[in-house]
Structures are given as C-alpha cells and as structure tokens.
C-alpha cells in the first residue's frame, strides 16, 4: 500500500464518520488483472478497499448525479476537470462534492501494453512502474518500456494530472509526464489525408459500431436526461446500427460535448469495438482551444463555452 492510498483511506473514513459526506466514490481492486472498479459506498468499512494504482481508469464523476450530496470523490486531474465542468453547467453544486485530489501519475493503457508484448492482458504476469520505466513481466520474461509508450493517450496530453480544483490534495503536485504531440499523432495523421479518405476512414470505423452507447454512458459530459438518439418524435437518427447513423450519432455527440469534454479518454477505452473516439473528441478539444482559447474544466466560474461569446469573435466563415 502506498502513501497516497493509506492517506486516502484515512481521509475517506473520516469524511464518512464525521458525516461530512453521504458517500465516497473511489476505486477498489477489480476482479480481473490490472483493473480497478468504481467503489460507491456510504459504509466506512469499505474505505479499506480504496486503492490508487496505475489502473484507476474510470472517470468517477459520471456517478455524481446519481447520489445525493455531499459526496466525497477520488479525483484524478481529468476527473476534477469534469467536476469543474459539471459545476459550470449547473449539474453540480461545489459544496455538494468533496474532492479528494490524486496527483495522477498517469494511467496505463492496457491495449498499448497488449500490442507491445503481443499478449492479452490476462496472459501478462505483472506490470510495474518505476518513474519513467515500466516493466512488463510476461512468459517468464521482463520487458522494459518507457512510460510514454504505455500511458493512455489522454494522459500523455494531460496538462493537469494533479487536480487544480480540490478540497484535499493527497500528495504533491507532480511533474507532467507528457508527450502531447505523440498523443495527438493519430489526429495529425488523419489530417494529412485528403477529405474523402478521412471520411472513408470514419465510415469504416463506424461500420462496426454496435450502438451499445458505452461511449455516452461513461462520459460525464453526456448528462442529458434524454439523449437525442432516443427521441422518437421526430426520430433524429435511425435506431438501426448503420454506419451512417452511427457516425451521425457520434459526430453529434462530440459536438454536443464541445467545451465539456475534458479529454479523459474514457469513451475510447470503453468502446468494445475499438473505435478511436479520442481522435474525434481530441480534435474537438483542439478546435475549441484554437477558436476560443477555451480549455474545458479549468475554471469553475467561467460560463460554459456554448453559452458565452465575445462580440468580436472571428466570423470569417459567415457571409
């Protein structure tokens, strides 16, 4: 058990004991190798199961709207940005959430590891991290990788791994282990293609979408009570999983979460059919930053991107 973990358990227990929160949302050990699972509990005994490790993947803020506050929540940098964004959108009151900030060293992308070692995650014996080196033990062999090879892309481009908004920061504000360019390399690669090929690429990707809506369900920014895909009068898109409608669904979703998407990368991780969704959301984040200098989840007092304006904003595209 690491320092942060033991501190977290003590603090979480105290919060529950002192009645400061109704529930704690954190991570517990998962039932599979290298996984954690969200722990949502009001029972102080459960706090002994809280963990912090390189596999705390979920953006836990997605659960906030389900629990009556105040709630204590374990938050990595991205989770905290989501919380800020939810506050901006009036989905959450600041006083209803007690942020237990985790200076996040980055989450390991198991798909990348699988690819690097050519084995499935359950065939890997161990993954250990020592600063910038990661050792993967597989088939009686130790393979060494640099951290940038195995971190999730969203972690690589994360500018605030330690939450900026918190009630308690468990640990030191840490150094950014990032490689923004690397994390956006797929976007650059797509941009270098002619438009028709880009469209063809996404058409292929969305041909295998099964409309499980995991991307939407894991997304804290997708907080609409009723999503447009579920409207029936009028029916905006067909419920049939055709690539056309799958693509319209996702494109619309990405536009709808513009300025709310904090690049936590959960949509891509959740996708069971490996659609590189972060290459859509990541691009939208860039657009928003480029056009409006806006970074989602960085200022809880700022108005949400889409409700604000500057009269002199660029409008060269308007006749």
């Amino acid at each position: 058990m690491n320092d942060i973990e033991s501190k977290l358990r003590t603090e979480a227990r105290n919060l529950l004991e002192q009645g400061k929160v109704n529930a704690i949302i954190g991570f517990a050990p998962g039932s599979l190798k290298f996984t954690t699972t969200p722990l949502i509990t009001g029972d102080k005994e459960d706090t002994d199961r809280l963990v912090i490790n390189p596999f705390i993947a979920n953006n836990l803020s997605v659960f906030l709207h389900e629990i009556e506050g105040p709630v204590g929540i374990v938050a990595k940098g991205c989770d905290a940005r989501s919380i800020v964004s939810l506050i901006q959108d009036n989905q959450l009151a600041r006083e209803d959430v007690f942020i237990l900030g985790i200076p996040c060293p980055g989450v390991i992308d198991l798909r990348k590891v699988e690819k690097l070692v050519g084995r499935d995650r359950d065939e890997i014996d161990d993954i250990t991290r020592d600063n910038d080196r990661v050792t993967v033990a597989v088939g009686g062999e130790n393979k060494e990788f640099s951290i940038t090879e195995v971190l999730r892309d969203d972690c690589l481009s994360c500018e605030s791994p330690a939450p900026k908004e918190y009630d308690l920061l468990l640990g030191e504000d840490n150094v950014v282990v990032g490689d923004r360019e690397l994390s956006r390399s797929h976007i650059r690669e797509l941009e270098s293609l002619p438009p028709a090929e880009r469209w063809e690429f996404w058409k292929n990707e969305f041909s295998r979408c099964i409309r499980c809506y995991a991307c939407r369900q894991v997304c804290p920014a997708c907080f609409c009570e009723r999503c447009f895909v579920e409207e029936s009068e009028p029916q905006w898109i067909s419920p049939l999983p055709r690539w056309q409608d799958n693509l319209v669904f996702q494109a619309t979703r990405v536009i709808h979460v513009a300025g709310r998407c904090v690049d936590c990368g959960e949509c891509e991780r959740a996708c069971p059919v490996n659609i590189p969704l972060r290459s859509l959301t990541g691009k939208m984040d860039e657009i928003v930053e480029e056009l409006f200098g806006y970074k989602a989840g960085t200022d809880k007092d700022a108005p949400p991107l889409m409700t604000a304006y500057v009269p002199e904003e660029a409008e060269d595209f308007i006749r």
């Binding site: 998962g30 039932s31 599979l32 190798k33 996984t35 954690t36 699972t37 969200p38 722990l39 949502i40 509990t41 979920n58 997605v62 659960f63 389900e66 499935d120 359950d122 065939e123 292929n204 990707e205 041909s207 295998r208 099964i210 409309r211 499980c212 809506y213 995991a214 939407r216 369900q217 894991v218 579920e230 067909s238 419920p239 049939l240 999983p241 055709r242 959960e266 991780r269 959740a270 069971p272 059919v273 490996n274 659609i275």
Partner: protein, 353 residues
C-alpha cells in the same frame, strides 16, 4: 441443470487434419457454403466471411469479441420489404437462404445457441432465426487458452468439448482432431479433403489437451439453488441498488452476451418503399420498457436485476437452463468491471418465499 446427452464415438471414425491444411479445407467448403471464421479484419474480433487465405486465427484466436450469435441473430436484419402501389401495400418477406459454416465456434458460444433456440422455438416459431440456424453448420474448436474471465465449467460446459456443435475440433499440436457430433457434421465431413485417420495416440493427446483446458478455467461460480435465492431476493432493493451502483447502463454486457437475444423492431422508408428490421436491444436501456406514462424498469437497479434474474432465475424456470455460458465477455468488456459472478455470489440468503 440442462445437459445434452453426448454421443459416444468409437475411436475408429475419428479423423484429423494438419493445421496447415485448414486453408484448403475451408476453400473446399466454400464451394457449398459461406464460411465464417474468426477475424480481426474489421478492427474487432468476430466471425467474418473467410477471405480465402488467412488462417492466422489458429494462433491468435481465443474468442471473438462479438459473439457468433451475430451470425444467426444479426445485430440488424431485414424481415420484410414493403412497397406501396395503386393496389396498396405489397409485402415481400426476406428469407435468409445462405448456407453457412461457422468455423471455430467455442463450446460456450455453441451452447448459447442451443439455449436461445428454446425461446425462438417456443409457442411461435421464429422463421428468421430458425432458418439461419438450420442453414448453419457449427464447427467447434476447443479452447486451449481460456480467459481469466471465463467460468464456463461452472455452467456445465467443457471449454474443449461440445455436443452443441456439428463437428468438434481439438488442438493436438500441429494437427486438429475432428469429431463428428451430428449428422450435419458427418455430411460436412463427407465433403472434406485432407483428412487422415486419427490414431489412439492422437486421441490421447486430444484428451490431454481438453483436460488442460478444463483445468485452466479457474473462475468458479456456485450456481446451486441460485434461482430460488434470486427469487427470494427479488424485492431486496438495498441489495440490488448496491450491486447496480457502479453500472453505467450501457449495452456492452448484453450486446456481447452470446445468450442475450432481446431485440427491437424498426421500420425504414424512403419514397414509398421500405423495410422492417429487427436489431439488438438491451434491457440495460431505460427506453427498453418505457411506456408513455410509466416505466416498470426506470431505475438502473431494476434493469440490473432484470438482467441477472432473466439469466439465472426466469430462464431456468421457463426452459430448465441457466441462460449464461460463462463466456466472461460481460466481465471482460465491462467499462466498470461489473462482474456477474461477484453479484451472484453476494445474493443474500433470504428465507424462501
């Protein structure tokens, strides 16, 4: 617990084939059938039409992400087409005529089809499903390397043996041992080439291979009395709320489940002609049961309860079998690691109703 009687096969009609000859065999079958094999060509592992070359799956394939139910109950299928003319609406049913082979189906997924056969045969026969099913030959391939999430043995399924397929293959190193399971399989074997007779040594190594696979399934679930336990806990809202707390109600577990068969029916139309389709639906979605004024399963704990109870309580009561084969997909692909075995193990003991 539901079990099919296994046909006892005498050793002398066992055949085998060299792995390197599989391509030739599949090509031969392609003359009469559309052949589906495990494939990652589309970016996700599923049963795809064989490209005529690639037999790499023999090395990488453990199981598909999209279950082979997709080849019998596709995630979207046209049921009939309609057109309007002066005489009114004309309907033209779509009949699935393609004769197909699913090569490499795992015993868990083959059992899943046996299980959902029951609902599609029940009371009213579902022509679409049953025709596809009749037109399909299942060539099973025993597991050698089950996943950590697999728990088939707890559901009475052997990872490398199956009575739910037509032909069963067992990996014996450089070769695959072939067992005839049904007449359909026998017929297909008659159309095959490159087979040689298996020796008793081959059978021994097959036995060994099966045994090893069986031992590798380490996740266990005790299903004794589970239906009664679930029934007694049906109204235990606290329990279900706790179990459901981390569920994000996406459709992964149900869509990727080989025994989840629920569907929706939708029309498409353009310029007076169109078609009626059915597509997968999921009890995880709140819209699934929504009625204008009410929704019996509005809350997510009710939907999680439905999913669990349907598989482990209702289906056994209706058809005498648990509607789960322990394939582990719902655990493996769940974004929040919601684990059905943990849920079932934590069902509280209530006094029987």
């Amino acid at each position: 617990m539901y079990r099919r009687k296994r046909k006892i096969l005498s050793g002398d009609n066992m055949k085998k084939i060299k792995k390197k000859d599989i391509g030739k065999l599949l090509s031969k079958w392609q003359a009469d059938f559309t052949v589906f094999t495990p494939s990652r060509a589309t970016g996700v592992a599923r049963m795809e039409e064989w490209d005529g070359k690639d037999t790499d799956f023999l090395t990488w394939y453990r199981n598909t992400v999209i279950p082979p139910k997709n080849n019998i109950l596709p995630n979207m299928e046209a049921m009939f087409r309609f057109q309007k003319d002066e005489a009114g609406y004309q309907l033209e049913p779509v009949t699935p005529e393609q004769k197909q082979i699913i090569f490499g189906i795992r015993p868990c997924d083959a059992r899943a089809l046996t299980i959902i056969d029951m609902v599609f045969k029940d009371t009213y026969e579902d022509r679409y499903y049953l025709t596809r099913r009749q037109n399909t030959v299942l060539v099973g391939l025993g597991c050698t390397n089950p996943y950590e999430s697999c728990f088939c043995t707890s559901l009475g399924i052997h990872p490398a043996q199956s009575a739910d397929v037509d032909l069963m293959l067992t990996d014996i190193g450089n070769e695959l041992l072939i067992e005839e399971i049904t007449d359909k399989g026998k017929e297909l074997l008659g159309k095959s080439s490159g087979l040689t007779d298996a020796s008793s040594n081959d059978e021994d190594s097959a036995k060994q291979s099966r045994e090893t696979a069986y031992q590798k399934v380490t996740r266990k679930l005790d299903t004794t009395g589970i239906a009664d336990k679930l029934q007694a806990s049906f109204e235990d809202k606290d329990f279900w709320e706790k179990v459901a707390a981390k569920c994000i109600t996406c459709g992964i577990c149900t869509f990727l489940c080989p025994t989840c068969y629920c569907f929706d029916i939708n029309d498409e139309i353009s310029k007076g002609s169109g078609a009626r389709f059915r597509n997968w639906d999921s009890c995880s979605f709140s819209l699934y049961t929504k009625m204008p004024a009410e929704n019996p399963r509005e809350e997510k704990w009710q939907r999680v309860r439905q999913k669990v109870c349907h598989k482990y309580e209702f289906y056994p009561r209706l058809f005498d079998t648990i509607a789960c084969t322990g394939c582990g997909r719902c655990i493996r692909f769940c974004p929040v690691n919601w684990d059905i075995t943990q849920t079932l193990e934590s069902v509280p003991e209530h006094s029987a109703v």
